[in-house]
Amino acid sequence: MPDVLSAPLVVEFPFTRSLGPVQSAFLTGLRERVVLGVRTTDDRTLVPPVEYDPVTAEEIRDLVEVTPTGTVTTWAWNHAPRRGQPLTTPFAWVLVRLDGADTALLHALDAPGPDAVRTGMRVRVRWAEERTGAITDIACFEPYDGEAGEPGATGKSVPAGGHSGVFGDPITGIVAPARLDYTYSPGRAQSAYIEALSARRTVGERCPSCRKVYVPPRGACPTCGVATAEQVEVGPRGTVTTFCIVNIKAKNLDIEVPYVYAHIALDGADLALHARIGGIPYDQVRMGLRVAPVWTEGARYPDHYRPTGEPDAAYETYKELL
C-alpha cells in the first residue's frame, strides 16, 4: 500500500464587517482613547457594548464612557504566544472589568510572569501608538497602582453622564482577516489514485455491493455505505457526456477563454469526472465526443482532453453518466 499523502492547507480570507451604530462608536472611541460602554434597561453598563439588551432584547443605544482603569476578574497565562496575538512575549489573557463597567472585557496583560498576576489586581489600558479604530488600539493592559477613575491613566477626566458616541470621521467597517492552518490528508484511496496518476494511469475502486467503479475513489461507496478496495484501471479514453463553454476568466486560472469544461466518463468508470477539452474549436465540442488525456511534463493531472477521432458515442451508451 502506498504512503498516505499529507500536506499543509492554509485557509485565509480578509472578511469585512459592517459595524452598525454601537460597534462603530466603540471602535471609533478607541481610536480617540475613549472606552465606551452601553447602559442596559436595568441600569448596568456593558463593556464592550452590545446592540441589544441581553435581558429584555430591547435595542439599547445609551452609550457611556468608562475609565481606562480596571480590575482583573480572572486570567490565564499564555506561555507561548502565537502569530497574531497581542504580544510577542509570554503574557496573561485577562478579563478586565473597567471602572464604571458591570461586565469584563477580554484582552492581554503585559506582566513579567504568572507570579505577577492575580485576580483582583489593578490594571490600566496601554494605548497603541498608531490607532485605527480596532480592538488592537488597546495594545494591552498593564499593572497600575492608582485609584479608580483617576485622570492619571490618560490625562483626561471622564465626563459625567452619557457619551454621545459621536466622533468625527467614524469607523463604519473593519477588515477581520481570518486564517486557519490545517494538515490535510486525502486518505488511503485518494493517495493510491494520485500515486497511479504519477504513472499516467487512472485507477478507481469498485464497490463490492453495487459493482459501480468510482473515479476518483473515496474508499467507500456513497450509495451502499460499504468500503471499497478492489482497484480498477479505467480509461485512458472516455466520452464527453455534457459540458459548458466558459466565457469568463476565473481568478488564478491561466486559461484563455472561451474554453470547454466537460464531464467525461472514462471507459470503465461509472460516473463522470470534470476536465477541460482542447485540440478542437470550442464551438465544435459536443455530447458524445470521444476524448483522450493530454499530459504535460511534471503535472499531476492531465492538462486537458483532446478528441481521439473515433465516431461519437451513442447517447444511449452514456445517458446515465451525465
Binding site: 459592517s18 459501480k212 461509472d270 447517447y315 451525465l322
Partner: protein
Amino acid sequence: MSKEPVAVVGIGQTRHVAARRDVSIAGLVREAAGRALDDAELTWADVDAVVIGKAPDFFEGVMMPELYLADALGAVGKPMLRVHTAGSVGGSTALVAAGLVAARVHGTVLTLAFEKQSESNAMWGLSLPIPFQQPLLAGAGGFFAPHVRAYMRRSGAPDTVGALVAYKDRRNALKNPYAHLHEHDITLEKVVASPMLWDPIRYSETCPSSDGACAMVLTDRAGAARAPRPPAWLLGGAMRSEPTLFAGKDFVSPQAGKDCAADVYRQAGITDPRRDIDAAEIYVPFSWYEPMWLENLGFAAEGEGWKLTESGVTALDGDLPVNMSGGVLSTNPIGASGMIRFAEAALQVRGQAGAHQVDGARRVLGHAYGGGSQFFAMWLVGSAPPGS
C-alpha cells in the same frame, strides 16, 4: 396522538440589496425578526424558542454566529437551534421550527435565516483549494451549466426557454418591494443579449449576490386563534438528502427531490399537484431550473416542464404562477433564500403578497434545494387548516 397544526402568523424580511453596510449581522437579522413579530402583533416575550439558519460559516467568517445573535433575537434564556443544509437551509430551518410546534414542544417559535454576502465572497467559500486536487475549472455557474445542457438534450427544449424564465422572474420582482433586483427597463431582448457566461447560461439568467434576512413566527392552534391576520397553515413539509456525486446520480431530476415532493403531497392529500396546487415558489438560481424542477416536483411529466414555461402557465397571471416574488433570480441572500421561498408561499395563502398576490391562492408550495442538488426542503401551506 395527532400532530399539532402549525400556523404561520408573522412574516418579515429585509429589503434585500447587494450590501447592507449600515447594519451589523445582528442589526440585519433583528430587522427581519422585528417585522415578523410586528406582523404577528407579538413581543419577544411571546416567543418560546428560536430556530436560525444560514449557509456555511465561511461565507461571513463568523464561526457559529448564532451564539452572538442570541441577544439580537431575544433568545437569552430560551432554546436556540442552528440549522445548516447549504442553500436549502432557509427551508429546512423553517421545517425544524415547524416540527417543534407540531410536536407540542413549543407553542410559538421564531424562525429566521440570513446571509450577509457582502462581508465575504461566497465563491471563495465554496472553492477552498484542496491539496492534491485539481482546482474547479468553472465556478458556480460552470458547475450547473452542464446539467442544464443535459436537461436540454433530454427534453428537447428549445434554447429560448431559459431567457423566458429570467424575463418573467425579473418582471415579477418589480412588483415586490423586498426584491433585490428591480430592473425597470428589462426586456426579453436584453436578457437574450446579455453575455453568455457559461454557455448555455447567460448573465441575466443567474442569481445576484445579496444581503438579507427573512423571519417567520410559527405557532399552534391557540396562537393562530389569537392572530390578528389570517394564518397560513402547514399542510405538508419534508426534507430529503442524497450524496452530491454518486454513480447513477440524476442531476437533472434528483431522486431526493422527487421523494421529498411525494412525501409533502402524501401528507397534504395532493394527488395531482398541477391541479391541486395554485402556485409555487421554487428555488431557481439559474433560469433553466424552473422547467427542471417543475418536472422533479411532478407539475409536469418528464421532458415537458419547459412547455409550462413557454406557454405562460408559470407567469404571474398564468394557471400555475411560479416565483411570484421574483425568485432567487432576483434576490439571493443564500442562507435566507430558502426561507424567502417558504415565506412567499405563506404570504400568498394569507392574501398578504401585495402587488404580486395570486388571486384566490389557497394552496402554495415553497421549495428549496442546496449543495450540488444534494439537500431538498419543501412545504405546502394552505389558507385553511389541515383536514378542513
